[in-house]
Amino acid sequence: MNVVRLSNVQVRYRGGEGLKSVNLTVRAGEFVFLVGPSGAGKSTVLRLIYMAERPADGQVVVGRFNSNTIRPKEVPYLRRQLGIIFQDFKLLEDRSVYDNVAFTLQVTGAKRKDLKRKVLRALANVGLSHKRYKMPHELSGGEQQRVAIARALVNEPFILLADEPTGNLDPVTTQGIMAVLEKINARGTAVLMATHNYSLFESRPSPRKRVVRIENGATSL
């Protein structure tokens, strides 16, 4: 079953660069690497999936949402079914690890009684329960990215979108983050990871993994 499908997607910008023709599917439980050089359009593809952008042509289908028919007020409900992580972590510096993860539940109206249990479980999944009272600046880069992953997972999404999640990390820490993502994927959450680093795929092969290349705004298998 496809959880994400992009069909003949085009995006046009005034400057000229955009997406020319993107076709991509992600099936439930799959781990897909979207590999391409900087400026190829990887981040744009992810932005299309969480509908921060709309295609000029073609369509994006994510779960039950379709880019051609979704209304702006439905976008938050789509995003609650996705987990998103970035190269720069996007943590709230003035909140503890626990509060950063709880934040997702707070702003999406989760029940108060479920909050602690869900936050602690998400932190346990990334191996950071013991650092829940720390502030982000007290953590290493790899730990901060793990907090971001916990925050993305706490709503139990069907897919995790990762935009160069290891771009700011050293090789050892990168392997640690990859292990966490593989563990999440093994539990059934699909992962779509945009990266320029093809070796991440090569170094950790698995039957669940697949590569989609993107260059100059077009995908190829």
Binding site: I84, L92, T104, Q106, V107, T108
Partner: protein
């Protein structure tokens, strides 16, 4: 109280911390505006009371034939009371008019009016009705209509009243309303835009928080709510300070000038409500404009 209420309250208060100077300026402007609006309202209320009191003094004198007998006078009085706008009609006979003249003449000139009247062969003063108007008719246009209606009655020779006073009062009341409303509106618009600007700065200070909220699936209403809360708090605090300031100003005026100045209680509630409405409306528009 719901979870999101406390969240919005906490984040709303946090907005003051994140954009301290802009919030302070917006709050001070709001307070200053509300005090000015309050001063204008006090002036308007007191001026309206003054104009009302003066309008109550607009009386008609309807001069009638001296030859009317008692029954005809009574009949005419009934007719007068049936004229639309007439509140009361008091008959003043020629003899009573002479007595009034003597008193008024003596008071005004310091001389005895008796000798002046006696110099004439007969009492030249006509009998009349002193007519007062019902409140809604105490303005120049209505007064003129009532005067015209009275003049048509059989037995009435002439109707006189202070038309110039009625016209002047109308003019003053109208200008007071126009100038007061324009100033009040101007102040409110100024405060309104400053609060919008404050919202812009708060949004800028919280852009990362807002971005993350949107990424994890917060609805637009949820993202806006803390800003509305901040606008509400700004308006409420501004309203309370303004009400207190107005109260102190009123006390000071009473103490210093010994003036009797009305300060209606509804003004305090009005300032609070106006502050809250201004704060919420400006925050709402600011949030709509600056949060995509």
């Amino acid at each position: 109280m719901s979870w999101s209420f406390f969240y919005s309250l906490r984040e709303g208060l946090d907005g003051f911390r994140r954009a301290k100077l802009a919030s302070f300026i917006a709050l001070m402007t709001m307070t200053f505006t509300l005090i000015l609006v309050g001063v204008l309202a006090v002036a308007a209320v007191n001026l309206a009371a003054l104009v009302d009191a003066m309008r109550g003094r607009i009386e008609f004198e309807a001069f009638v034939d001296n030859g009317l007998d008692k029954a005809a006078v009574a009949e005419l009085r009934q007719k007068l009371l049936h004229v639309r706008g007439v509140a009361e009609a008091q008959f003043i006979s020629a003899a009573e008019a002479a007595e009034i003249f003597k008193r008024e003449f003596a008071r005004a000139s310091g001389k005895d009016g008796q000798s002046f009247l006696e110099a004439l062969d007969a009492n030249p003063l006509p009998a009349s009705f002193r007519i007062s108007l019902q409140k809604p008719y105490q303005n120049s246009a209505s007064a003129q209509r009532v005067a015209d209606d009275i003049e048509k009655l059989h037995g009435v020779d002439e109707v006189v009243y202070r038309r110039d006073l009625a016209l002047a009062l109308d003019r003053y009341a109208r200008w007071t309303l126009i100038v007061g409303s324009a100033l009040g509106l101007l102040f409110c618009v100024g405060a309104f835009f400053l609060v919008i600007n404050d919202v812009r700065l708060v949004i800028h200070a919280k852009r990362r928080l807002i971005e993350i909220m949107q990424l994890v699936g917060a609805t637009r209403a949820f993202v806006r709510r803390p800003l509305l809360m901040q606008g509400f708090l700004q308006g409420a605090i501004g309203g309370l300070i303004a009400a207190a300031g107005l109260f102190l100003l009123h006390r000071l005026l009473l103490f210093e000038l010994g003036a009797t100045l009305q300060l209606p209680g509804f003004l305090f509630v009005g300032l609070l409500v106006l502050g809250i409405l201004l704060g919420i409306a400006a925050s709402y528009l600011g949030a709509r404009k600056y949060i995509q």
